[in-house]
C-alpha cells in the first residue's frame, strides 16, 4: 500500500545499501540493466528537452537551427501568444473541473470505504463488489449513455457535465485504496472511541480521517491527475470554446496554430507546468499515489 511504497522509495536506499548491493551479485555492476536504464533516460529526456528549448525559439529559428541547440536569444513571444489565446480561461476551467470532481469524489469514497470496513452487512459487501467490478469498466465504453444522460439533465456544454461523470469514475479506485488503509487502523482505536461514547460519524472524522490522511492525499493526487489530463469527457460533453479544459484547448490550439510549432510547444509546456510544480513539491506522495492503486 501507499505507505509501504513511500517508505520503500524514501528509505530503503539509505538503510540497506550494502545488503542490496550484495544481493545483486557480489558488487559487480549490472551492465546490461544499467545500460538500458541510462539509454531509456536519454530517450525520455530528449523529447522533453526539445519541447522546452523549441518553445523559446522564434519560428524562423525553428526552421533554420539545429533542433537540439538552445536558441541564441530565447523569446517569450510564444508564451505570450498562448496566454493571449484564452489560456487563463482554460486553466481556470481545468482547476474548477479537477477540484470540483476530486474533493466530492474523495469525500464520498472515504465515507463509503469507512462504511465497508466498519460493517459486515451483506449489502455493503455487495456494494464493495460493485465498486471492484467498476475498476474493469473502460470509461470510453460508457461514453454514449453518459452523453445521453448529460443531455437529458440539460447539462450539455457545462463544466458540471464533466464533473459528474468524473466523480463517478474516481470512486472505484478511491474506495479500494482507502478501505485498505482504514482496515489497517487498529481495532482498539475504534473500540476506545466507542467506549468514549462516540458514534460512527464522529469516529469517521475524528479517528479515521486523520489516520488515513496519507492515503487521502494519494488518492486525490492520482485521481486529480486523471481528471486534469482527461480528454474524452470534455471532448464529448462540451462544445463552446469558453468551456474547454487544457487538454482540449491544446488540441484545438494545434489545429489553429499547427504551423507555428514553437507556439504549440509553448502551450504544451504551459499546460504541464502546474503539474510539474506540484510534482516538485509533492513528489513522494505522487510516486506512491501512482503505484498505490495497484498494490492490493
Amino acid at each position: 500500500m501507499a505507505t509501504t511504497v513511500t517508505t520503500d522509495i524514501g528509505q530503503t536506499a539509505k538503510v540497506r545499501p550494502h545488503r542490496s548491493r550484495r544481493r545483486r551479485g557480489g558488487g559487480r555492476p549490472n551492465v546490461l540493466g544499467g545500460l538500458a536504464g541510462w539509454i531509456w533516460l536519454v530517450i525520455v529526456l530528449v523529447p522533453i528537452y526539445w519541447i522546452v528549448i523549441t518553445s523559446f525559439k522564434t519560428q524562423a529559428n525553428y526552421y533554420a537551427m539545429n533542433p537540439l541547440k538552445p536558441p541564441p536569444s530565447p523569446t517569450l513571444h510564444n508564451y505570450q501568444l498562448v496566454i493571449e489565446s484564452d489560456f487563463v480561461q482554460y486553466f481556470v476551467n481545468s482547476v474548477i473541473v479537477t477540484a470540483g470532481s476530486i474533493i466530492p469524489a474523495v469525500l464520498i469514497s472515504f465515507m463509503a470505504a469507512f462504511a465497508i470496513v466498519r460493517s459486515s452487512s451483506r449489502f455493503l459487501k455487495s456494494v464493495n463488489g460493485l465498486f471492484l467490478m467498476g475498476l474493469a469498466i473502460p470509461l470510453q465504453a460508457t461514453i454514449i449513455p453518459v452523453y445521453l444522460i448529460i443531455i437529458r439533465l440539460k447539462l450539455y456544454d457545462s463544466l458540471l457535465a464533466i464533473i459528474l461523470p468524473s466523480i463517478a469514475f474516481a470512486i472505484p479506485l478511491s474506495v479500494l485504496v482507502l478501505s485498505n488503509f482504514i482496515r489497517d487502523v487498529p481495532k482498539e482505536l475504534f473500540e476506545s472511541m466507542r467506549v468514549d461514547g462516540a458514534d460512527e460519524w464522529t469516529t469517521l472524522w475524528l479517528l479515521a480521517f486523520p489516520l488515513t490522511r496519507p492515503a487521502l492525499v494519494t488518492v486525490s493526487i492520482y485521481n486529480g491527475l486523471a481528471v486534469w489530463n482527461g480528454f474524452l469527457l470534455p471532448l464529448i460533453l462540451t462544445q463552446s470554446p469558453s468551456k474547454r479544459t487544457l487538454p482540449l484547448a491544446l488540441w484545438s490550439f494545434q489545429g489553429q496554430y499547427g504551423v507555428n510549432v514553437p507556439a504549440v510547444l509553448a502551450s504544451v509546456v504551459l499546460t504541464t507546468l502546474p503539474i510539474l510544480i506540484l510534482y516538485a513539491i509533492g513528489r513522494r506522495q505522487l510516486l506512491s499515489g501512482l503505484t498505490a492503486g495497484f498494490s492490493k
Binding site: 525520455v44 523529447p47 460493517s119 455493503l124 456494494v127 449513455p145 464522529t202 505522487l286
Partner: protein, 306 residues
Amino acid sequence: MTTAVQRASRTPGTSRVGGTGSVTWMALPALVFFIAFGVVPLFGVLGLSFTQWDGIGEIHPAGFDSWQKVLADPGLPHALQVTFLVMFLSWVVQTPASILIGTFLAGQHRYRAVLAVLYFIPLLLSSAAIAVAYKALLDPNFGLGAGLNVGFLSQDWLGRDKLALAAVIFIVSWQFIPFHSLIYQGGVRQIPRTMYEAAEIDGAGRVRKFWSITLPQLKYTIVASSTLMVVGSLTFFDLIFVLTAGGPGDATRVLALEMYKTGFQANLMGPASAIAVILVLVGLALALLLRRIGGGGAADSQLEGA
C-alpha cells in the same frame, strides 16, 4: 467537531434506509453516483445498441439492426485487429525493457533516486500534450529527425500505415516503460535475499540467478504489470485521436476510435453502442484471462507494496 456530532444525531432516520446498521448510509452517496454514471451507462450502452439514434433527436427501438450493421462492417474486424496488434506490440516492447530497467533500478542505489524522479515526468503529461508534441517532433520536414539530418528519423512517421503504428507503439512505450520499470523495481525488492545467497553458494552466476530466481519470483508482478498494459491499451483513445485520428486511412483506428467515429462523427449512436459493448466484453475477457493466468487472488497478496 460540534457540527459532526450534531449531524450524527440526525442520522438515525437515514440509517434505516439501508436497514443494516448505522454506517450503511455513508456508502450511499458514492453508490448513487456510481450507479448513475457508471452502472446505468454500462447497461444503457447495451440498451442503446438495440436502438436507432442520431445523437440529437428521438431514440427509436431498432432491434438487431445496429448489431447486423456492425458485425457486417469490415471496419469492425479491422479495428479489432489494430486493437490487438497495438496491445500485443506495446506489451512485447514494454515488458522486457521494463523488467530489465526495473531490475537495474532495484540494485543501483546511487543513481536510482535521480532516475526515478526523471522517469516519472512522461507520466505527468496528458496524452493530448504528448500527442501534440510528438506530432511536431515527428514531422518529416521540420521535426527532430529532419533538423538533425538523420535519415532514419526523418521518415514520414505519421503518414504511412506501418510507421504510424510503430510511432504509436513507441510513444506508448515512452510514456509507460518508466512506470512499469518502477513496478518491477518494487517487485525485485520483495524477493528474499536468502534466495540469492543460496544460489551464490551453489555457484550460480548473475544470468543464472536472473532466470532461475528473479524472473520466476516476479511472476505476480509480471501479471499485474501486464494486466495494466493490456487493459490500458484499450484506452489509448486520447493519444491516437490527437496523434493520427486513426489514420493514415484507418491504419491506427482502434476499437475506441471506431466507436467515436461511428457515434460522434457519423451520428450512428446505435452501431457505436454495439461497438462499445464489444469493447467492454474484450476488456472483461482480458481481465479475467490475465487473472486466471495469475492464479486469481494470489496476485493480490503478492503485490503488496509493488
